[in-house]
Symmetry: C2
Subunit: 242 residues, 2 copies
């Protein structure tokens, strides 16, 4: 990558992609964002997405100057294909293999291919996705071998030279909080706490020290535990330097 290049960030408005957004503006000259509306149960996610983007623009003028177009595309086909909890009012359960019934097979492959088509049209080479192997809930298309294989398929199928960046690939949720803190300090982690959305149930009424959410669904549990680890380690580090 190069400080002269443009990057396209897959930005959903969650903790992970908000951290990726910061990583992108920290590493590239210009950053565009793309999001997909695939019939999420809670339009709150799409609202949060715009709020994170606005808050980042307000809090970081240097990043604001780097941020370009935001592309939002509706892809109801994913909801149509799948009978999954993320797109319907059914309960989230976990199958024996560890895969939640929120599993939309190949969802990230679709997102990456559409992002690559947009990047192709806009002459952008770098694509950034907040997927990772650590807390991936068993989604195979979040893993490094899947991303690497998709990069090949996109480059051959579009005769291109895309680079797929996955800065969170080997980070757990605690490390992701640390990364955001490292890039943007408490201004950024506060934005992520306040505006980014994670909760599967779309709860924006219950406030915790790690943000809003029901506090019980798998996504909230991961976010809360990660934040707790981050705070513990930060306090420990502060004490060590006292």
């Amino acid at each position: 990558m190069s400080q002269e290049d443009t990057a396209l960030v897959l930005f959903s408005g969650g903790q992970d992609s908000s951290t990726c957004l910061a990583w992108a503006v920290d590493n590239f000259a210009r950053v565009e964002t793309v999001g997909f509306d695939y019939g999420q149960r809670h339009s709150v996610e799409l609202d949060c997405r715009m709020e994170v983007l606005s808050a980042v623009r307000r809090a970081f003028p240097a990043w604001n100057r780097k941020l370009g177009d935001d592309h939002l595309h509706a892809i109801p086909v994913l909801g149509n294909i799948s009978e999954t909890a993320l797109t319907r009012d059914t309960e989230i359960v976990f199958a024996e293999g560890g895969l939640p019934n929120t599993f939309v097979p190949g969802r990230n492959l679709i997102f990456l291919t559409l992002a690559a088509a947009i990047a192709y049209r806009r002459g952008i080479r770098h694509i950034i996705a907040g997927v990772g192997e650590v807390d991936y809930s068993g989604y195979p298309d979040c893993r490094e071998d899947s991303i690497s294989s998709m990069e090949d398929a996109l480059n051959i199928g579009m005769e291109s030279d895309f680079i797929l960046h996955t800065p969170l690939m080997h980070l757990d949720k605690t490390a992701i909080w640390h990364l955001a803190d490292h890039i943007g300090g408490p201004e950024l982690t506060d934005i992520i706490i306040e505006y980014s959305h994670t909760c599967y149930l779309g709860d924006r009424n219950t406030r915790h020290d790690w943000g809003y959410g029901c506090g019980h669904c798998p996504a909230c549990a991961l976010r809360a535990a990660g934040h707790e680890g981050f705070i513990e380690q930060t306090v420990k580090a502060d004490k060590a330097t006292e």
Copy 2:
């Protein structure tokens, strides 16, 4: 493949995918079909799609028994992303690299990924696409290396064991007419001539011996030349056996 397996055919209602449909019912125990409405300029294509399917069902009772669900999904996102002639009322031109401005980057990658998601949900392992390297108009995602690389990406990203079949990969349009004739005889080639649609301009008024179409656009030109070659070779073969 096995005569006991089910296959999913990417079926658009054109000459190529109609031939693939016949190849599928000839080779598999059960066949489902999937089509995508991505804002084609001419809904005539979707009408022809249903007409080919109905005509095949009527003409071939044995195939009719093998044909299962047809899945039709709207994906307007492709039209939204792209400024291309296939989805807008602009003229079709060819860029210097040989790629028509109908080029929707990675269009077949999207189709294959969505088809694989459907196949995953339905427990289908075999996916059949009518793409080929010979008359591919410069679309890189029609080539064998692209399909093979996409097969890898889908299998890794969905933890699956899909096989992507591309029976037309190395056939020119004349050979594709021969393949249809070989599988279904004149009953099938007549159906393809009468109902399958190829013309970029959506012309269903002008009848030629190879079917309906403007007769001038690149798609008509390919179809017409291929059919001419097929008739010439068939006449020559008939004379040789007289």
